[in-house]
Amino acid sequence: MAWSIDSKKCITCGGCVSVCPSAALELKENILFDEKLCTLCGICEKACPVSAIKVEK
């Protein structure tokens, strides 16, 4: 089980933050991830316009 982001691909648009249903992501200079809140639902992975996020269940 893991959530990861490829910072070379990420354009920090915040799309993943918009769609995250559990407020596990936050947009600052980078995308901040809170493991405690993440449910590994995978919506952010689908929504990312550049496929920078990987969610493994």
């Binding site: 354009i11 920090t12 648009c13 915040g14 799309g15 993943c16 933050v17 918009s18 769609v19 995250c20 249903p21 559990s22 407020a23 992501l25 936050e26 947009l27 600052k28 919506i43 689908k46 929504a47 990312c48 316009p49 550049v50 496929s51």
Partner: protein
């Protein structure tokens, strides 16, 4: 208490709300987490000229390009050319958002940038203020009323428990391109399931050889970048150009909420999903939403009652002025996403360009219903629009 109203977010919704509240004599503070307003741009930057009836004349330095009309391309490459009766603008949001903020400040609003709001102060079932960080220090600010105008990508917004999940979003990517061949008098919109499933590719001119070239799609197997790169590769006039900047984001395209108020707080703009569900345009909706919110808040503050019950007038007013219309547009989107490329091509032959523009505003949908009715396979979709 220093302020009557604290607004979180200094975009089109927050500034429109603040300006009107300040004009009505209330003390208003806007917090924004960004260092520079209007940046990063997450927007195609298109706006109808008529929106100036709401916010006043937009200065020339905010405008990248004036637009005469729109060309809407069917998958087979044929296009409908519609002249926009009142014209259109492609803005420079970097400048435009600062101008909006300036208008709010001139009316008496205070704006504080570089400030992250992290939580709310709640007392006796009422939202009573915000907690945040500014210059490395934590602070609290109380107010009679809180407005959440953060846009969709705010984590704070989700702590409000007012929301259902944001299920309906389109994933968007946009390149700011230069050195391309375009007709700068027209925006171009390309439809088709291979081009952009559920959404569209847009080319919004920003000068003679520059444009915002973007795509919005339903999240699926391939990402937005795949569709945008494919499109550019297949269009020589764009392929010869250069990508100067990459922008992106997710846009709500539905999930219109019935209830966006609670004791001492309301939500407006994109944060409340106040976005046109067919084209994803959010600026005009945000401005209207912010202004209507200000009207309701002004009345509630005068009556010294910011209870959920009193504020629910905002729900009623927004649905009356915009929601019912946008709900029709959402139905239109549901129909459009079921159309095959052949249907698109056939409809492009059957419809008048100006009517297609009206559809996107939730008007003249009976014309589309009739066109769908003529095709046996599409009658059920036609009924969905009724």
């Amino acid at each position: 208490m220093k302020y009557d109203v604290v607004i979180i977010g200094c975009g089109p919704a927050g500034t429109s709300c603040a300006k009107r509240l300040a004009e009505n004599g209330f003390t208003v503070k806007i917090y924004d987490r960004r260092e520079e307003l209007g940046v990063p741009v997450r927007c195609g930057e298109g706006l109808g000229e008529r929106t100036q009836e709401l916010i006043g004349k937009i200065p020339d330095n905010c405008i990248s390009q004036k637009i005469k009309g729109a060309r809407i391309y069917a998958p087979n490459g044929k296009y409908l050319e519609a002249i926009l009766e009142y014209g259109g603008l492609i803005l420079n949001r970097r400048v435009f958002d600062k101008w909006l903020a300036e208008q709010a400040v001139k009316a008496g609003t205070e704006i504080q940038k570089n400030t992250l709001i992290t939580n709310f102060i709640k007392e006796n079932g009422y939202f009573k203020g915000v907690k945040g960080e500014f210059l490395g220090k934590e602070f609290e600010e109380k107010a009679k009323m809180i407005v959440c105008a953060t846009g969709a990508e705010s984590a704070l917004r989700k702590t409000l428990n007012i929301f259902s999940k944001l299920n309906l979003i389109d994933s968007c990517l946009q390149y700011k391109m230069s050195g391309i061949d375009i007709d700068s008098d027209f925006i171009q919109v390309y439809l088709g399931n291979e081009i952009a499933p559920r959404g569209y590719v847009w080319v919004f001119p920003k000068g003679k050889d520059k444009a915002n070239v973007g795509v919005g799609i339903i999240p699926g197997k391939q990402n937005a970048k795949y569709y945008l790169d494919k499109f550019i590769n297949e269009h020589q006039e764009l392929k010869k150009g250069k990508i100067d900047l990459v922008e992106g984001g997710c846009v709500p395209v539905g999930d219109l909420l019935k209830d966006i108020v609670t004791n001492g707080l309301l939500i407006c703009g994109e944060a409340a999903h106040h976005v046109n569900p067919i084209h994803g345009g959010g600026m005009k909706e945000a401005i209207i939403s912010g202004q209507l919110a200000a009207d309701v808040i002004s009345e509630c503050l005068k009556n010294n009652d910011v209870s959920k019950k009193a504020l629910s007038k905002f729900n009623d007013l927004w649905w009356k002025k915009r929601g019912n219309r946008l709900a029709k547009v959402e139905k239109l989107r549901e129909v459009v996403e079921k159309l095959s490329d052949k249907d698109f091509n056939d409809l492009a032959d059957a419809l008048k360009p100006e009517d297609v523009i009206e559809f996107s505003r939730g008007s003249k949908l009976s014309v589309l219903t009739k066109a769908l009715m003529r095709k046996p396979g599409l009658i059920s979709l036609a009924k969905h629009l009724l």
